[in-house]
Amino acid sequence: MSKRARTSHGRALAAHAILLIYTVIALFPVFVIVINSMKSRREIFRHPLSLPGPGSFDLVGFQTVLQQGNFPLYFWNSLVVTVVSLAFILLFGAMAAFALSEYRFRGNTLMGLYLALGIMIPIRLGTVAILKLMVAAGLTNTLFALILVYTAQGIPLAVFILSEFMKTVSDDLKNAGRIDGLSEYRIFFTLVLPLVRPAMATVAVFSMIPIWNDLWFPLILAPAESVKTVTLGAQMFLGQFVTNWNAVLASLTLAIVPVLVLYLVFSRQLIRGITSGAVK
């Protein structure tokens, strides 16, 4: 008994060590960005890894960001694009997943494969066609163009993950709803969706980060000042000859905050889902 307890102790220790190392590696770049955003330009180059001290502390980067350009607007644009895209991904992804997992129809498997294809083929391959499409539709320089593209980009993974989860929802429960006269929509929204909430949170987290961080599509589809996103906005401090590192690092630091908040919201759902399943 005691021997087994000791080995599991050792194993736990090893697991924690590995996880800690990974955490340090993953957080290091973020850490460097955050500490350097609060230092003077000279200190950034001289001691990039030292913490901001009395001699090096300087908020000039943040001042530049807040004075120059239109950062509150960029934040707002990013937030709108991310939140609306996520809502669409979750809604339409879940609907498609429900149809694929719940109904028997001709071409069901084929449809599932077709929808999953997007996981394997990067959407950027279609950039030229997408641009042509958006120009033809008159959607260039609108946030809606970005929302459409990100929704398309996120749906394959959402369908893939959610349809697997929806297969685990009890058939009896759905059938009880049908006998009680609930519409298929009510069954979907009130019975099935709450039960796959942890999976929805997973999908939300996986889809959110690439959308928030994306530079490619904002640059191509919506470069106008009024619809710039944060990542694109931060680019104006990166010049061909001179780069305002203070401002770049400060804007990136600020850009971490909203996405961190969203992540915390979703991950709490995620953890609640996992623990409620474990306890019951």
């Binding site: 009896d172 429960l173 059938n175 009880a176 709803g177 006998i179 009680d180 039960l195």
Partner: protein, 332 residues
């Protein structure tokens, strides 16, 4: 109010035919049990009656009206599921009242119907709880209550007792029997447990591989099985099947129930040795190995002191034996 007719109903999933033509009439107020081994199609048949599965061919009629294309909610049925299937986000009261609410019944009437059903099943103290705060037995009572509230033409039970422990199973079985007596409603009950079938049913439908093997009252099936399948399925312990040829009979198989096989230490038709004895108090089951019939079961009432490896003789009661031909059909 609540007669069900199935005429030549079939169901296929792709190329596999699961229900191969079932004809059945269930009278109003009857308690009808579908029984059969797993995979015989009994649950599928029930789900077709409920409207949860399409009918591939044939007709399902309730009260003379064809309902093949009627959605489940409009068939005036209620169903109790094996896994209870309570709505996790609703309280017991809302769970029970949902169907009426969907049908647009006034609130006061719903409350009244729920209270009546709750009183009937002693669910009053649970009405404000959620399903996650109930035990398994309570959940199944709520599920039954949810069915009662609707006052359906037809109650459908899909193995409602399978997830309950033995003691609760007996209680809930008695509850369902009482429900049937007092509501005088038509009930269709699916189970793989022949004890449930025997104790609850007015009429049992034995299903085998998508076909009806025999329909009849419990005692009819017990005393007059039409084939070896029904003979073996109904009755516990299972009927003994002896080789007819070895006994000098024209029949392929001789079936004899364990309670109709006499055991003696001195003399009898078939010699064998005891391989196992089960003492259950009220009865004793003796397993006897014989040549060439294999292991035969003898059911004795009361306590007996047979021991393993003892040589004994068995004699089938000639008035209670059943003869079957080589297709397993009864020879009369």
């Amino acid at each position: 109010m609540g007669a069900l007719t199935l005429s030549n109903v079939t169901k296929s999933f792709g190329a596999t035919e699961v229900i191969k033509g079932v004809d059945l009439e269930v009278q109003d107020g009857e308690f009808c049990v579908f029984v059969g081994p797993s995979g015989c199609g009994k649950s599928t048949l029930l789900r077709m009656i409920a409207g949860l599965e399409d009918v591939t061919a044939g007709d399902v009629s309730i009260d003379g009206a064809r309902v093949n294309l009627t959605p489940p909610a409009r068939r005036e049925i209620a169903m109790v599921f094996q896994s209870y299937a309570l709505y996790p986000h609703l309280t017991v009261r809302d769970n029970m009242g949902l169907a009426l609410k969907q049908a647009g019944t006034p609130k006061a009437e719903i409350a009244q119907a729920v209270d009546r059903a709750a009183g009937f099943l002693s669910l009053e103290p649970l009405l404000t709880r959620r399903p996650s705060e109930l035990s398994g037995g309570q959940r199944q009572r709520v599920a039954i209550g949810r069915a009662v509230v609707r006052r359906p033409k037809l109650f459908l039970f899909d193995e409602p007792l399978s997830n309950l422990d033995a003691a609760l199973r007996v209680n809930t079985r008695i509850e369902i029997a009482r429900l049937h007596r007092e509501l005088k409603a038509t009930m269709i009950y699916v189970t793989h447990d022949q004890v449930e079938a025997m104790t609850l049913a007015d009429r049992i439908v034995v299903l085998n591989a998508g076909r009806v093997a025999q329909v009849g009252a419990p005692m009819e099936l017990y005393n007059d099985p039409a084939n070896t399948f029904v003979a073996g399925f109904i009755g516990s312990p299972q009927m003994n099947f002896l080789k007819g040829g070895a006994l000098g009979l024209a029949a392929e198989t001789l079936g004899i129930r364990p309670e109709h096989l006499e055991i003696s230490r001195e003399t009898g038709d078939i010699a064998g040795t005891i391989s196992h004895v089960e003492h259950l108090g009220g009865e004793t089951n003796v397993y006897v190995h014989t040549e060439p019939h294999g292991l035969l079961t003898v059911r004795l009432f009361g306590e007996h002191n047979f021991v393993v490896a003892e040589p004994v003789y068995l004699s089938p009661d000639p008035t209670r034996r059943f003869l079957f031909d080589k297709d397993g059909l009864r020879m009369r």
